[in-house]
């Protein structure tokens, strides 16, 4: 019973950490808008934390470049599992308009296993919330599969 409660709690308490990998800040503003009274993601138990060790979901905005890929990887590694990654915006997905730049690696999935892609330039807050909820479902499934 306790195990069931813990399992069901996971989806009800996704603490997110938001990493700006090199975004133009458009996606960041939309992400943070989710926390405002208008969207109020805390309704779903979503809390924005500033420390990867406390986080369940990593939201990444912006392109990954050679300089910040280590940071991205480090943050991801410091999150205790189960965890999920959500790539946000055109840049996070593929590198966007910067993908051909000499210093750019591409999308987040070049470094981390991405669970959910939220497209848009920038995506709407509703889309981001949907993405987080989808990520939770995904890692619940992963847990089920792992037993």
């Amino acid at each position: 019973m306790l195990k069931d409660f813990i399992r069901s709690s996971r989806a009800k308490s996704p603490w997110i950490i938001h990493f700006d990998c090199g975004s133009c800040n458009g996606c960041d503003i939309e992400t943070l808008a989710c926390l405002t009274p208008l969207y109020d993601v805390e309704r779903f138990g979503i809390v924005n934390v500033g420390n990867p060790k406390h986080a369940d979901v990593l939201l990444v905005t912006g392109t990954v470049n050679h300089r910040n890929k280590h940071v991205l990887k480090n943050l991801y590694d410091q999150m205790p599992s189960p965890k999920a990654v959500v790539a946000i915006g055109a840049c996070g997905l593929t590198g966007g308009v910067f993908r051909e730049a000499y210093n750019v690696l591409g999308g987040v999935d070049k470094v981390l296993p991405v669970d959910v892609y939220v497209p848009g330039c920038p995506p709407k807050p509703e889309a981001i919330i949907d993405g987080v909820v989808l990520a939770l479902k995904k890692f619940a499934e992963k847990q089920q599969a792992a037993g």
């Binding site: 306790l2 195990k3 409660f5 813990i6 399992r7 709690s9 996971r10 009800k12 308490s13 603490w15 009274p37 109020d40 805390e42 309704r43 779903f44 138990g45 809390v47 924005n48 934390v49 500033g50 420390n51 060790k53 406390h54 369940d56 205790p80 599992s81 189960p82």
Partner: protein, 282 residues
């Protein structure tokens, strides 16, 4: 015997109450900010989730400290509801507080190191104030025992108004609510990386949250001593106090710990001294 049973009952019920209060706190805070807010049971989901996460540790000592923090908080709640000596249970609580600092210092992380130093400053501020509050309670009732203070025939708030003010200030510091959330803070508050809690994650963070719930119950219990004569009075006092805490928590920006040490501590000492002088002369 009844007192021990009461203590054991409190040991079981306190986390439930503490979690509910935390949920209520978040809900009310959200409404103050014209948001909907999370379900009342949200803190339970959070902690359950934390216990379900992969355990990670820096070293064994750090984990040990998390357990001792919980132990100190739980035993002090037990002692309170068993009617033991206020000073004793406060010192038992201090075991937990000090071990939280040990745990934060156990890792060479600048965030948790600074958090630990700030936590020590918070202890330095609230400890003398709380001891003076307990002295005032003992002076007014003739005993340091919770049981005896509880059965005092008159509401103590009337005799100790200034000390109650000091108590609520000290408790804001103890519970690390704004404007005194230096060493770590609650969600949506200023300490972003979480100070003393930086290096804790998963189940061990859950243990600390659980201990925090015990502390909330202990703190409200101490407040309750000031109106122990009627249940209605007690509930009103607690509700008003906690509502004021939430209000202050939401309207105040964080001060600096230097201000706390310089002004809050001195003002608290002065107020308690005033109230105690009055009590000694009366």
């Amino acid at each position: 015997m009844t007192s021990i049973l009461l203590g054991i009952l409190a040991l079981i019920l306190a986390p439930l109450a503490g979690g509910l209060i935390a949920g209520l706190d978040r809900r009310v805070t959200a409404r103050v900010q014209s948001r909907f807010g999370p379900p009342i049971l949200q803190p339970f989901y959070d902690v359950a989730k934390l216990f379900g996460k992969e355990p990670r540790m820096g070293n064994v000592w750090q984990i040990f400290c998390a357990y001792i923090y919980l132990l100190g908080a739980a035993v002090s709640v037990f002692l309170f509801f068993a009617g033991a000596d206020l000073l004793l249970l406060f010192f038992v609580q201090a075991i937990g507080a000090v071990f939280l600092v040990f745990g934060a210092l156990a890792r060479p992380s600048p965030y948790s190191q600074i958090g630990a130093q700030r936590e020590l400053m918070q202890i330095l501020t609230y400890e003398p104030l709380l001891i003076l509050v307990f002295v005032g309670l003992a002076k007014a009732t003739g005993s340091f025992k919770v049981a005896a203070i509880w059965s005092h025939p008159e509401p103590l708030l009337l005799q100790l108004p200034l000390l109650y003010l000091v108590l609520t200030t000290a408790l804001t510091i103890k519970l690390r609510k704004s404007p005194f959330d230096f060493s770590t803070s609650h969600h949506g508050h200023q300490e972003i990386v979480k100070g003393v809690l930086t290096e804790y994650s998963g189940p061990y963070l859950g243990l600390i949250e659980l201990a925090h719930w015990y502390e909330v119950v202990l703190v409200l219990g101490i407040c309750a001593l000031f109106w122990s004569t009627s249940l209605v009075g007690l509930l009103v006092l607690l509700a008003v106090t906690y509502a004021a805490e939430i209000f202050v928590d939401n309207t105040m920006a964080r001060l600096t710990w230097r201000w706390m040490l310089g002004s809050a501590l001195l003002a608290g000492l002065a107020l308690s001294f005033l109230n105690l002088v009055w009590l000694y002369l009366a």
